[in-house]
């Protein structure tokens, strides 16, 4: 026996939290659904067919929730912190490089390469930082559509920045190598690292621009960015003669700890939303 109220109740339960918790919007959508159902019934369809037709005309409620999240978009301050860290880091390297260039210690080609590669790598770290933040908040407090939209938007922009700066930086590096080492590409660990970062920036860009990518996969991709950049940037110090201000064992230990933390974060990304929720605290960050 068809029961409209039961169908409506099930439909309400199936809605994403952001729609379900907005009582006014819920009433508006429900009113629409009832009206659509009644019109279908008047047209002579059976109750079940009328309900299915009304429901299908509503469309994918996940998409509706995403659109509503855009309407009431808010400032997501973790994105601004990541952007600030990026500006400070790249600004510092830029200032240092200009100083070295002024002192005649570095040539323009290599100086530009250093600044661009730093911008690309730090952008990837910024994505990793946002990913880590998202994983923690999602597990501890739950994750709203608005946060997802803000996370997606910030990471899409950072991915594009990382892709462009790393691509141009690698090209300039190859040019510099051609002039100074007599070859464009030598499969040096740093070059391989740069190539891996470049490839992962492409993956991230696609991941954050496509609405089809599952949210948990995006989180994992963001965390993996941390692993790739950390290994690509600092890993060569363990096996090559590149000069670093700290000793190889220290770099190795710090890198290992960092990678283990990322593995833990990837595991946390697999947990259901709010799995480690602290009761009595609202999810608003």
């Amino acid at each position: 026996m068809f029961n409209l109220e039961k169908k409506l109740s099930d439909w309400r339960e199936s809605l994403p939290p952001s729609l379900r918790e907005n009582r006014e919007l819920l009433e508006e959508l429900e009113s629409h659904l009832r009206e659509a159902f009644e019109r279908q019934m008047k047209a002579g369809k059976s109750a079940e067919d009328s309900w299915n037709a009304a429901l299908s005309s509503m469309g994918d409620t996940q998409n509706v929730a995403r659109e509503f999240a855009k309407v009431h978009r808010q400032i997501w301050w973790p994105a601004w912190i990541a952007a600030l860290l990026l500006v400070v880091s790249v600004g510092s390297v830029l200032a240092l490089t200009i100083a070295r260039f002024s002192a005649g210690a570095i040539r323009p080609l290599l100086a530009t390469h250093v600044v661009l590669i730093t911008a690309g790598y730090v952008s990837m770290f910024a994505i990793g930082l946002l990913g880590a933040w998202a994983v923690l908040i999602r597990a501890l407090r739950g994750w709203s559509d608005r946060q997802e939209i803000a996370f997606e938007s910030a990471c899409a922009k950072l991915s594009l920045l990382a892709l462009i700066t790393t691509l141009v930086g690698c090209a300039l590096g190859a040019w510099w190598a051609s002039d100074n080492l007599g070859r464009w590409w030598g499969w040096d660990p740093k070059e391989i690292g740069g190539l891996c970062v470049l490839a992962w920036a492409c993956v991230l860009l696609q991941s954050f621009r496509s609405h089809r990518t599952p949210a948990q996969l995006r989180l994992c991709n963001a965390i993996i960015a941390n692993m790739i950049v950390a290994t690509g940037w600092f890993g060569p110090a363990l096996i090559t003669i590149h000069s670093y201000p700290v000793t190889h064992p220290t770099i190795g230990m710090l890198l290992a700890i960092f990678l283990v933390i990322q593995v833990v974060l990837i595991w946390m990304a697999q947990l259901p939303e709010g799995a480690m929720k602290m009761h009595g605290r609202a999810a608003h960050l």
Binding site: E24, L25, E27, E28, L29, S31, H32, R34, E35, A36, R39, S57, M58, G59, D60, T61, N63, V64, E67, F68, K70, V71, H72
Partner: protein
């Protein structure tokens, strides 16, 4: 927002705001009636997904182009009615001017 017609997604999305504002200029209305009016105006060739109309309505409300109020319909059910305001009429005029430019250009080249 797209239905079964051959209209491109971008075109339907771009025409949503002027269509909604133009329909509301005829008089206040509510979600279901707006969708029905769009279908009527396009001879059934434009079919919006119902759920996607509301984000546009809410965005227009947030932008101050339309206002909304709840009323009890003859059926006894509460409905949210939307009405265009001065800001919305201004926005509609801008959209009309832009669409007329597009229409004029296409009409000239396809003559």
């Amino acid at each position: 927002m797209i239905g079964d017609m051959k209209l491109g997604k971008d075109l339907v999305a771009a025409s949503a705001v002027p269509l909604i504002l133009a329909i509301l200029e005829e008089g206040e209305s509510y979600g279901y009636a707006i969708i029905a009016r769009v279908r009527e105006l396009s001879d059934g060739k434009m079919r919006w997904t119902d759920g996607m109309l509301y984000p546009v309505l809410h965005r227009l409300e947030a932008q101050g182009s339309i206002r909304a109020r709840w009323k009890v319909a003859e059926s006894g059910r509460r409905r949210k009615y939307y009405a265009i305001n001065r800001e919305g009429r201004k926005t509609l005029e801008e959209h009309k001017a832009q669409w007329q430019i597009v229409h004029g250009a296409l009409a000239s080249i396809w003559r």
